[in-house]
């Protein structure tokens, strides 16, 4: 039977199990939008900006593990997706973005709303396609979903010229995808895994560093077993938060620039690093020449390019984290008479002393709201069960430090690209995937203004995302760098005018709440959590002087940390976080 290109697109989406698309229409993509007008099985969520549509698809994918989908028009619609694609690319998130394109005959003619989006997005997609012939359409749709979600996942863009979605051909769904040039390797090399077992047996001071790859490969259970069987402490990178329970006795929290003192000390003193699905980003390693000077490294990653890109690796294992860890754990379990606990005692004790010496703290105040206090209260009042997204800046780091993630896929943050404006739309996407869950965007007053228009989307579709704005009137993280490294010259980081977020929320028909004193924090959060039918802005007026600590200055070794000075005097209580 003959189908139009647009019908083929919809049919393929259905066969891929797509239920939601985030999108924005325009001239050359109308063939598809026209079909969505009476489509029952697929809902299009009309965002207010194409960037937000892509972030929403990304949040949907991170939270659910399914491929997120966005649909936009050509030219400006397509170029607006670039930040979203780059964000997903850096964090290996499986999304498919379909963009309209001018008719094939006009391509290259500088036609109205023409942009070479395949050229523009080549370096920020895992792969992209321009469909030049409708006969290739079904195959390309299939390949796009396969490429996005297999191997090391990532965003894929499909550019759809108007005539391709308008013409008709007999539809044929390819039974399988076969790409001679793309065969991701899932099984780890057995010999290397045995080497890893040997190394783990010999190690006196081993640590595990778990990254976003553990989450993507759904390997949290296997990772936990590895840690528990061998009594090895676990450090989670920013992307790896939730891949191991943050409240676990073996958890050391996050490493690197704003990591915990004890995570960084453990790395620097370790003799073996078991790196799982992480890529030794510079924010993690600090000065490379001084990184983990005594450690040999086992590196498990599905992407061979991640291995030995930044650090020398002793035992490389290319493969899927879940599969590799399963075999590794089984081999280690066979060592029944090994007294792991006794072996590990001295090392865990040493780590404990670092934990005691410098726990993750902040100075509570009764007069002014400390941003960390807000995050702590959010954790407490949601019992650690919320899906948390963040913007970028201090808000992101405080969220990472003070919300303890026990489960994977509850933490949505732009780790690699550091995209301000990511948190709100991605929370929206996650809420679409999980309508019943509490979804909170921990935001900065600067970042939230980068996609604030999505309030409309949330109101219209009754998406009850909560946004906790840590309102410090500053581009706080940049201000922090200026204070510490640029002689307190605050060039263009004071926002001068921050809108009344309560009124903004109300203007859109959302709920707006404000807390100006520490005593108001809890009531505001409780009030917000009650709202189930619309978005809520919580405007927390926080101490603008607050900085994120500890901190490793850029270019320093990770044990060269700066800590917060003691508060000047009296009354202020030191709060340790367990």
């Amino acid at each position: 039977m003959k189908k139009t290109g647009a019908e083929i697109v919809i049919e393929c989406l259905k066969r891929e199990g797509v239920r939601h698309i985030f999108g924005y229409p325009g001239g050359v993509i109308l063939n598809i939008f026209d079909l969505l007008y009476d489509e029952k099985d697929i809902q299009l969520i009309l965002t207010r900006h194409e960037q937000a549509a892509v972030h929403a698809a990304d949040g949907y994918a991170r939270a659910s593990g399914k491929v997120g989908v966005a649909l936009v028009t050509s030219g400006p619609g397509a170029t607006n997706t670039v930040t979203g694609l780059a964000t997903a690319y850096m964090d290996s998130i499986p999304i498919v973005v379909m963009s309209g394109q001018v008719p094939t005959k006009l391509i290259g003619n500088d036609a109205f709303q023409e942009a070479d989006i395949v050229g523009i997005t080549r370096p920020c997609t895992k792969h992209n396609f321009l469909v030049k012939d409708i006969k290739d359409l079904a195959r390309i749709m299939r390949e796009a979903f396969y490429i996005a979600s297999s191997g090391r996942p990532g965003p894929v863009l499909i550019d759809l010229p108007k005539d391709v979605t308008g013409d008709k051909v007999p539809f044929q769904w390819p039974d399988s995808v076969r790409l001679r040039s793309y065969n991701p390797r899932y099984e780890g090399n057995k010999f290397m895994i045995k080497q890893a077992v040997n190394a783990i047996q010999k190690a006196k001071k081993p640590i595990i560093i778990s990254g976003g790859g553990t989450v993507l490969s759904n390997a949290a259970q296997e990772l936990r077993e590895l840690a528990e069987v061998t009594d090895i402490p676990v450090i989670m990178t920013l992307m790896g938060l939730g891949s191991f329970p943050g409240t676990h006795r073996l958890s050391l929290g996050m490493p690197g620039m704003h990591g915990t003192y004890y995570a960084n000390m453990a790395i620097q003193n370790s003799d073996l690093i078991i790196a799982v699905g992480m890529r030794f980003d510079d924010r993690v390693t600090g000065r490379l020449s001084d990184f983990a000077p005594n450690a040999s490294i086992i590196h498990i990653d599905i992407d061979p390019t991640s291995i030995r890109k930044n650090v020398p690796v002793d035992i490389p294992i290319v493969g899927d984290a879940k599969k590799v860890l399963k075999i590794l754990v089984n081999l280690l379990k066979q060592e029944k008479d090994r007294q792991w606990e006794a072996i590990r005692k001295a090392w865990l004790k040493e780590i404990q002393s670092w934990k005691k010496a410098r726990p993750l703290t902040y100075h509570y105040s009764e007069d002014v709201i400390k941003p960390q206090y807000v995050v702590e209260k959010l954790y407490e009042l949601t019992k650690g069960n919320a899906i948390i997204s963040t913007e970028v800046g201090q808000n992101q780091m405080w969220a990472a430090q003070f919300y303890k993630f026990d489960k994977p896929r509850h933490w949505l943050t732009s780790g690699g690209l550091g995209t301000m404006g990511y948190g709100f739309p991605s929370a929206m996407g996650a809420q679409i995937a999980f309508p019943k869950k509490t979804v909170i965007d921990i935001a900065g007053d600067g970042s939230i203004q980068m996609n604030i228009q999505e309030l409309a989307t949330c109101v219209i579709y009754k998406i009850p995302v909560k946004v906790a704005i840590l309102n410090n009137q500053y581009l706080g993280m940049v201000r922090q760098w200026q204070e510490l490294f640029y002689n307190e010259r605050y060039s263009h980081t004071h926002l001068d005018l921050v809108p009344d977020f309560v009124k903004v929320a109300e203007a859109y028909g959302a709920v707006g709440l404000r807390a100006e004193k520490p005593s108001e924090v809890e009531p505001v959060i409780k009030e917000a959590l009650k709202v189930k039918d619309r978005p809520v802005f919580m405007d927390f007026i926080v101490d603008w002087k607050e900085k994120v600590y500890p901190m490793v200055p850029a270019g320093a070794a990770i044990d060269e940390m700066i800590f917060e000075e003691e508060p000047e005097k009296k009354k202020k209580k030191l709060r340790a976080v367990k």
Binding site: V118, I147, S181, P304, K309
Partner: protein
Amino acid sequence: MRHTISVLVENRFGVLSRVAGLFSGRGYNIESLSVGETTDPQISLMTIVTTGDDQIIEQITKQLNKLIDVIKVVDLTEVDHVEREMVLIKVAPRQEDKAEVLRLTEIFRGRVVDSSPRTYTVEITGDEKKIAAFVELMRSFGIKEFVRSGRIAIAREGIKKGK
């Protein structure tokens, strides 16, 4: 160190810019690049000459392999192989030097493919050293124009270096 890498790719539009973009985006350097269809019209072969330490070359080959349209990557430097390049040189020797140009062309097994009252255009094929030597010799006669094809290479059958 200099490496000659041979890359088998799907013969689709955009592949060249994916490969070139990989090099420019990651700050790797391309000394020469030549592309052509193979006997299978759906597949093209690229020969890339690049330089870098072991770690960079390892990244380059891995990153190339990661591109969806790349079928196979072989670092020919690791195997015994034959390399060739062709250059066309237009020289304008003085009257009294003309015979010498022709003589040298003969010695290097080049060919004169075009001549005018004032110039000879010489075609010469060979490996890097031979071409460099010939170009050096021609310099003193006044090179007017100079084009090179970029290097192509192929592994020798059977014998492999190392193991």
